[in-house]
Structures are given as structure tokens and as C-alpha cells.
């Protein structure tokens, strides 16, 4: 009986380990751009009924743009239909991980470009998830696809390439270092878009004195405040974000040094201008409150203009980046390449996925798509007819990356310096336990130092 039990345990263990899906063998070689079963990409895939499984995140304007694009593709290729699954942006990385692990996807959209690679000074930092996917052979190598020549070379080089190979297409760029503002309220008080922090202070304080909540934000999702608000303010305050990030690692800059404390003071001011209980407002609900006039401004990325328009097509709004000390009017947008399309390399429908990207790479298909998305185009010669995006042209002359694309926190860092490193949502005024920014700065530095010490 004991022997029998022992055998059963061993068998069960073997099955369980096998079920984990891993392999000690080297990763399957990344798929090449010539998909299996297809002699050439120019060859039309067979016209059998095909359902392409696509995943993306909840963002009304994006979902609508993708639905239109898919409808056009299905119109051209009636045998192809789509199943698009969405979850909110916070949960999207989990959906990506699980679907790729299960092989239950054909086309993957990515929130960002291939960025935030560890630098030589970021000791012990993990590789980002996208590297894991490339090295596991999950993303199809599309380096040799002819349609890539239609796209902006810089985008191809900086956003979708890794070790000289191309794995996707980033369909646009977005800014997320600022705020939408209600033009009617601004005109009522004679405000213009602020060029400096001092001007911004006057606007917010005047509004507050007149009983108008200056700013709202979808704080319940956390990232709108940290990835957009904090990131935008760091970008406006620090002239060289790369040096700042490096300085925090090498010790030439501190969370508590005089210069950084100036930034903390601005965070303190920002918190005082936010809508009370904004940490319970979900990202999806914030535009509704903004359009309803609950606040004069809303921290968000330029991509969400479509959601505001949907709520009230007659609502008059604009967007300006967080200002710094120098009047750089118009202040310039910082952000990222957004919505990357990748193909799951082991998909049985690789041919059709490539056909899809080829279809998207046609300027006449891409132009209405990028207009509907509300992104800045990444295809040379393509103009968007999105009124809002075009209104930002003067703020998009020297487009740069946002703070979140520069900073990598040390492994195991404590909560006060995690993420974008300025976790103002831990302040008491926003539902946290830390009373002042001075205390938060001290705690952030302690956490940072402890994490660096643990790495050495």
C-alpha cells in the first residue's frame, strides 16, 4: 500500500509539474517573419472562416476605433470575424499574461512601446514583461514585412524593436503630462492656458476661492494621479529626467534634497486643489464629472478627448501640459508611443494577422483609424482629421517621453518610493496615512536607500 501511495504521489507530482507549462529547454526559437504554412505573405490566405482573437483594454474611443477597423477588414475579407476581449487598463497586463500563456489570442495590443529597459545604473532591475514575451517567442518577428516601410522609422527603431528585430507596430503617440480644462470656466474668469507654475497657481487658487473645484482625477485607478499627474509635474519641473532618475540611483540626487523638496511642495499644492474624495472616482467616471462641471480641470492623457466629446459634443475643452518655472508657452507634450499591435507567434492564424497589419498599414485605412483614436500619427504623410489632436499641434513640436518612461524603482522598494516614486496617494489628504510631504519625502528616501542597500 505504501509503495502504491508513493507511486501515486510521484505520478501526481509529475502531472502537476507538467501542468505548470514551463520547460527547462531553451525557449522555442522566436518565430520568423515567414509564418508556418505560408510560403509568402503576398499569397492570399485561404478563404475559410476565421475568427481572430484580439485583446485590448477598456477605453471607449479605442474600442470603437478598433471595432470600425475590424469591420472594414471583415468587409474586405468576409470570412474573417473578430472576438475582442477587454478589461480595464490596470488588469490588462494580467489578461495579456494569461492569454499568451494559454495561447488563447491572435492579435495583442500593448499599452506602450518597448521601453523602460534596465540601465547600467539600475542594478538588479527586472527585465520588463515585453522582453519576456519576445524571448519566449510569443511575439512574431515582423522585421521583413514590406508594410513596415510605410511607418515612421523612428517609431520602428525606438518603440517596437529589440536587438535589431521588429515585433510590432505602434499606431500613434499620446501626451499625458497635463490636464483637460473647461474653456467656458476659463473664459468666465479670463484665464489663459498657463505658461508657468505661478500662473497655474493663480488659476487654481482663484477657482478655489470662488467655490469651484479646480481639478478632478480618476484616483480610484491610482495611475491617473501617479502616471499622469505626478509624471507630468516631474517632467515640467526637472529639465533632464534621465539625469534625475540616474541621480536617485547614484545618490547625487535625493528625494529630500532642496530641489526635490520644491517638487514635493507642488505636489502638496496639487493635492489641495483636487476634488474631495477623488480617490474613489474611477477613471471611467472622471470625464463625466468634468463635463458636468464638478471641476474646471481634469488630469488625464490626450487619448481621452474622445470620451469627453462622446459625453457632450458641444462641451468646449482644451488641454495643456503641467507648466514648469520657465515660461515655455506653449509648454510641450510628453508621453509615449501608444497602442502597439503584436501578433502571437504561435497563433494558427498568423497569415491573417499579418494581413491585418498590412491592411492597417495602408494610409487610407490608417488615417481614419488614428483620427478615431485621437493619437498623433506615426505614419509619415498621414494627417489626422481629429480636431482636438490638431489643436495640440503647437504643443507637439518637441515631443518627449514622460517621467514614467525614465524611472525604474529598485527591486523590493517599499511602498513610499514604489512605482513612479512620488506616491502622493499615500498622503493623508488622499486617504493615506502620511501627514505631510516632508514626512513622505523622508519615508521615500528611507525606502529607496533600504532597497539599494539590499541589492548590494
Amino acid at each position: 500500500m505504501k509503495k502504491l501511495l508513493a507511486i501515486l504521489v510521484v505520478i501526481a507530482l509529475m502531472f502537476s509539474m507538467a501542468a505548470c507549462g514551463g520547460s527547462k529547454k531553451p525557449a522555442d526559437a522566436p518565430a520568423t517573419s515567414a509564418p508556418q504554412g505560408s510560403s509568402s505573405n503576398n499569397e492570399e490566405p485561404k478563404a475559410e472562416p476565421v475568427t481572430l482573437r484580439m485583446i485590448t483594454w477598456v477605453q471607449e474611443s479605442n474600442e470603437r476605433a478598433i471595432a470600425d477597423l475590424n469591420a472594414k477588414f471583415s468587409e474586405k475579407y468576409p470570412n474573417v470575424s473578430f472576438v475582442v476581449d477587454t478589461v480595464n487598463a490596470n488588469d490588462y497586463p494580467t489578461l495579456q499574461n494569461t492569454r499568451i500563456s494559454a495561447g488563447d489570442v491572435d492579435i495583442i495590443t500593448n499599452l506602450s512601446a518597448f521601453d523602460t529597459l534596465p540601465q547600467e545604473w539600475t542594478r538588479g532591475a527586472d527585465m520588463p514583461a515585453w522582453v519576456t514575451f519576445i524571448e519566449s517567442g510569443a511575439y512574431l518577428d515582423i522585421t521583413d514585412q514590406p508594410f513596415l516601410k510605410n511607418w515612421d522609422e523612428n517609431m520602428i527603431k525606438n518603440a517596437v524593436s529589440y536587438k535589431g528585430r521588429v515585433y510590432g507596430i505602434d499606431v500613434g503617440a499620446v501626451g499625458f503630462n497635463g490636464l483637460f480644462y473647461n474653456k467656458d470656466i476659463f473664459e468666465q474668469y479670463g484665464f489663459e492656458e498657463p505658461g508657468t507654475w505661478a500662473e497655474f497657481e493663480v488659476i487654481c487658487n482663484t477657482l478655489k476661492d470662488n467655490g469651484i473645484t479646480p481639478i478632478t482625477v480618476g484616483g480610484a485607478d491610482s495611475w491617473p494621479l501617479t502616471s499622469v499627474g505626478v509624471s507630468g509635474m516631474v517632467g515640467a519641473y526637472e529639465t533632464d529626467m534621465n539625469e534625475f532618475a540616474k541621480g536617485l540611483w547614484t545618490g547625487t540626487r535625493k528625494f529630500t534634497d532642496e530641489k526635490t523638496m520644491g517638487l514635493w511642495r507642488r505636489f502638496e499644492q496639487l493635492v489641495s486643489w483636487l476634488e474631495p474624495n477623488c480617490m474613489s472616482i474611477s477613471y471611467g467616471d472622471a470625464p463625466g464629472r468634468f463635463v458636468a462641471g464638478k471641476a474646471a480641470m481634469m488630469i488625464d492623457g490626450t487619448w481621452n478627448a474622445g470620451a469627453i466629446k462622446d459625453l457632450d459634443p458641444n462641451f468646449r475643452f482644451g488641454y495643456f501640459p503641467f507648466p514648469g518655472d520657465v515660461d515655455g508657452k506653449p509648454n510641450q507634450l510628453q508621453g509615449k508611443y501608444d497602442m502597439q499591435f503584436n501578433i502571437y507567434a504561435k497563433s494558427p492564424n498568423v497569415d491573417w494577422c499579418l494581413k491585418y497589419l498590412e491592411f492597417l498599414s495602408q494610409p487610407e485605412v490608417y488615417a481614419p483609424f488614428v483620427s478615431a483614436l485621437g493619437f498623433f500619427p506615426t505614419m509619415p504623410g498621414v494627417q489626422t482629421d481629429n480636431e482636438f489632436v490638431n489643436s495640440l499641434a503647437d504643443k507637439n513640436q518637441r515631443f518627449g517621453l514622460a517621467w514614467e518612461k525614465y524611472i525604474i524603482a529598485p527591486k523590493g522598494v517599499g511602498q513610499y518610493a514604489a512605482g513612479q516614486c512620488f506616491n502622493i496617494n499615500l498622503l493623508e489628504a488622499l486617504g493615506g496615512t502620511v501627514k505631510t510631504v516632508d514626512e513622505l519625502a523622508q519615508l521615500a528616501q528611507q525606502d529607496w536607500d533600504a532597497a539599494l542597500a539590499a541589492i548590494q
Binding site: M1, L4, L5, L8, I11, A12, L13, F15, S16, M17, C20, G21, G22, S23, K24, K25, A27, D28, N90, D91, Y92, P93, Q96, N97, I100, S101, A102, L111, S112, T116, M127, P128, A129, V131, T132, F133, E135, S136, G137, A138, A220, D221, S222, W223, S227, M279, S280, E404, K411, G412, G414, Q415, L426, G431, T433, D447, A450, A451, A454, I455
Partner: protein, 305 residues
């Protein structure tokens, strides 16, 4: 005493239970052992990514590279969540079971169904319901306490978030405890109460000397289930506070956080199932210790009786 004669051979019995044993080994013991082994690897969980043996590196990171203050906060949250859920849930479940077992209450079945209803709703619906009810902006509770000049961030405030999670968990799981208690109460022979009545026992004496001792094995099961269940629970925390707030992070939530890269926001980090497995082993030891402590204290009490 005569042995019961059976037409089954011993080997037939063994053969009969093999499927059940194999099922238990495959679904329970196997994955547990696999988790233990995987905690010494850097497996990500993404198919095709090579993984290797890293020895104690995951445990070193957990205990020495993790921020100690945050780790202690996670342990504190775990203990608070476990103790509060176990004590309050069982106390209320016992009280309601006693009330709904009384013949004096008409329509007992209806009330039992009402109390059990949250267990049927499931964790997702329950969490959404309480997120709405406890919405600090325009939820009914916020409006009500606002009448008295009070306000609270509920799930969004570090001071109240854990309490709100505990409340939601109890509301959801209490129905089960109540039903088990009811079954225990109904198995107590009525003759004992009749004998008590003849001896002139009061209601409280009946409870102390008849109900409680005979219900004790049932209560034990309930308490044990509540301890283990609350230590393993992470769903309410993730669904209500998103697990982003360290104020509500428990060991089980940390396992999910690392193993499935939950709530990384920008999604920059990869899944780290090897490291998550190390957290799971830590959770296992924690549950084992908690269960043993409870078991020993019960045993000591029983020995004393």
C-alpha cells in the same frame, strides 16, 4: 465484538478508493508539492520562457530584499483580517443560528434564505454591491453619515479600507457558518432540553450545559474553516481596494500580486510565479502555524474538561 462480515475483498476496497486518492493527489498534494519545488525556480508562468533553479534566491528576496516595514504590515494585515473575520463571523453566525433555530420565530426558512443569500451572490457581486453602498462620493452610507457631519473614505482610506474588507468578507461568508451551526443545533436531541426543563434549567443554563458542549465540534469546524478561509482570501481585497493600497495587502493578496503581476498599472513588470510560489509557501507555513495553535488550544481545553 464480532467482525462484520463483508462480501468485499480488501483489495476491492483499495481498488475502489484509488480514483479518489489519485484525484486528491493530483488536485491537492501534487500542485502543493509542485508549488514548493517551483519556489526554488525563476519560472514566470509565460509559456516558452526558459526557467532555472535559483536555490533560495526567492526566499532571500522575500525576507531580506523586501522592505521589512511593508512585510510586517502585510503580516499585521493578515493577522487582523484572520482574527477579525474568524471571531466576528462565528459570533454573529452562532447568534443568528440560535435565533433561527428557535421555534418562536415564524418564517424561519425565509430568514435563513435571506442570511444565506450573500453566499450565493458570490464574491464579485458582493464586492460591487459594497463598493456602491460605501462609495464616499454619493453612496447611501456616505449620505447618511453626512447627515451627522461625518465623512469617510471607506475602501479608499488607509484607515478604514481593511475594516471595510473585513466587513464585506464576513457579510459574504457568514451564511455558510450559519448553515453549519444550524445543522449542528438540529442534531442536538430534544430530550436533553426536556430533561433540563424537568431539572428546572434556565435558558442560559441550557445554552451553557447542553447547547454549547454539543455544538462545540461544529463550532470547531466553523472556526477552523474561517481561519483557513480568511488566511487564503484575497478576492474581496483585490475587487474592492484593487490591492494597490498596502493598507489592505495580505499574504494571499501578495501571492497573487507577484505570481500574476496584478495591478502593476503600466504592466512593466513580468509575472514572477517562482517568487509568488515562495510567498505561497510562506502563506502555507503561516496557515499551518495558525491552525496548529488553534488545534493545540482546543485540545488543551478538551483535556481540561
Amino acid at each position: 465484538m464480532q467482525a462484520v462480515k463483508t462480501s468485499f475483498k480488501k483489495s476491492s476496497l483499495v481498488l475502489g478508493i484509488i480514483p479518489a486518492i489519485f484525484f486528491q493527489l493530483f488536485m491537492g498534494v501534487g500542485p502543493s508539492l509542485a508549488t514548493f519545488i517551483l519556489s526554488f525556480t525563476d519560472i514566470t508562468g509565460v509559456k516558452g520562457v526558459p526557467w532555472k533553479w535559483v536555490g533560495l534566491a526567492n526566499y532571500r528576496e522575500l525576507f531580506f530584499q523586501q522592505n521589512h516595514r511593508d512585510l510586517i504590515q502585510v503580516l499585521k494585515n493578515t493577522v487582523t483580517f484572520c482574527v477579525a473575520v474568524t471571531v466576528i463571523q462565528n459570533f454573529i453566525a452562532l447568534f443568528i443560528a440560535l435565533a433561527l433555530n428557535s421555534k418562536m420565530i415564524k418564517g424561519r426558512s425565509f430568514y435563513r434564505a435571506v442570511v444565506f443569500m450573500p453566499s450565493v451572490l458570490g464574491v464579485l457581486v458582493t464586492s460591487l454591491v459594497w463598493l456602491c453602498v460605501l462609495n464616499p462620493l454619493d453612496g447611501p452610507v456616505a449620505k447618511f453619515i453626512g447627515l451627522f457631519g461625518l465623512k469617510s473614505g471607506f475602501f479608499t482610506s488607509a484607515n478604514t479600507a481593511l475594516a471595510c474588507c473585513i466587513f464585506t468578507q464576513i457579510w459574504m461568508a457568514m451564511g455558510h457558518s450559519m448553515v453549519i451551526n444550524l445543522a449542528g443545533l438540529q442534531s442536538i436531541p430534544n430530550e436533553l432540553y426536556e430533561a433540563g426543563a424537568i431539572d428546572g434549567a434556565s435558558g442560559s443554563q441550557n445554552f451553557r450545559y447542553i447547547t454549547l458542549p454539543l455544538l462545540w465540534p461544529t463550532l470547531n469546524v466553523n472556526i477552523m474553516l474561517a481561519i483557513i478561509g480568511s488566511l487564503q482570501s484575497f478576492q474581496v481585497i483585490l475587487l474592492t481596494t484593487g490591492g494597490r493600497n498596502m493598507a489592505t495587502q495580505t499574504l494571499a493578496a501578495r501571492v497573487m500580486f507577484f505570481a500574476f503581476n496584478i495591478n502593476s498599472g503600466s504592466g512593466a513588470g513580468p509575472m514572477r510565479q517562482g517568487y509568488g510560489a515562495a510567498w505561497a509557501m510562506f502563506l502555507f507555513v503561516f496557515i499551518l502555524i495558525a491552525t496548529l495553535i488553534y488545534y493545540r488550544s482546543v485540545q488543551r481545553r478538551d483535556d481540561a474538561i
